[in-house]
């Protein structure tokens, strides 16, 4: 299964600033997914990042707030822009291929963001 390196693991940021989260995968993957998990809550898909095209955003998430880059098949970044305390959350990247037969999803270790 794929191995994902995600960083930073955590950060405390001032409101109004931006943070860029990076995910590096040890194999080439077509799609990378970015999720948000608010404290004690489930996972909400922010967007799907395809290499060579613009990311596809889910309802409630916009590119100006969460710009995504996907320069190649092993790397992606998510930026949380103009942060407010409401953006405090865990952000996770994910790719397909957690089990045999390439099904299931592997998650990065997450970025725990606190906005003060």
């Amino acid at each position: 299964s794929a191995v994902i390196s995600q960083k930073p693991s955590r950060d405390i940021c001032q409101r109004g600033t931006s943070l860029t989260i990076q995910c590096q995968v040890d194999s080439q993957v077509t799609m990378m997914f970015w999720y948000r998990q608010q404290p004690g809550q489930s996972l909400t898909l922010i967007a799907t990042a395809n290499q060579g095209s613009e990311a596809t955003y889910e309802s409630g998430f916009v590119i100006d707030k969460f710009p995504i880059s996907r320069p190649n098949l092993t790397f992606s970044t998510l930026t949380v822009s103009n942060m407010s305390p409401e953006d405090s959350s865990i952000y996770l990247c994910s790719v397909e291929g957690a089990g045999h037969g390439n099904y299931g999803y592997t998650f990065g270790s997450g970025t725990r963001l606190t906005v003060v």
Partner: protein, 111 residues
């Protein structure tokens, strides 16, 4: 909105007892997946069910997919302290790679 409902939200279990968590979807799923997230950790894939009525076992964990492919359950027997964490189901609809996660069942174990 969320398409997969999961209950109970919390499960407090005496060590050695059994428990079950349930997922229900408003639409027919092509497959359902289960994940475990330990406290402070990230979700880890457990299993995928694809076929109607499918049952799979992993040691003390038994996973079921309903005949209509709209519901699923995870049953854990003889709960151990290592079972602590949040269990999420996640469903995918046909022709849609995106997963819809349930709210999760957070399990605590009394020794």
């Amino acid at each position: 909105g969320q398409q997969v409902m999961q209950i109970p939200q919390y499960q407090h279990v005496q060590e050695g007892e059994d428990f079950t968590t349930y997922c229900n979807s408003s639409t027919t799923l092509s497959n359902i997946q289960w994940y475990k997230q330990r406290p402070g950790g990230h979700p880890v894939f457990l299993i995928q069910l694809v076929k109607s009525g499918e049952v799979k076992k992993q040691k003390r964990l038994t996973f079921q997919f309903g005949e209509a492919k709209k519901n699923s359950s995870l049953h854990i027997t003889a709960t151990q302290t290592t079972d602590v964490g949040t269990y999420f189901c996640a469903g995918a609809r046909s022709n849609d790679y995106k997963l819809s996660f349930g709210a999760g069942t957070t399990v605590t174990v009394r020794a």
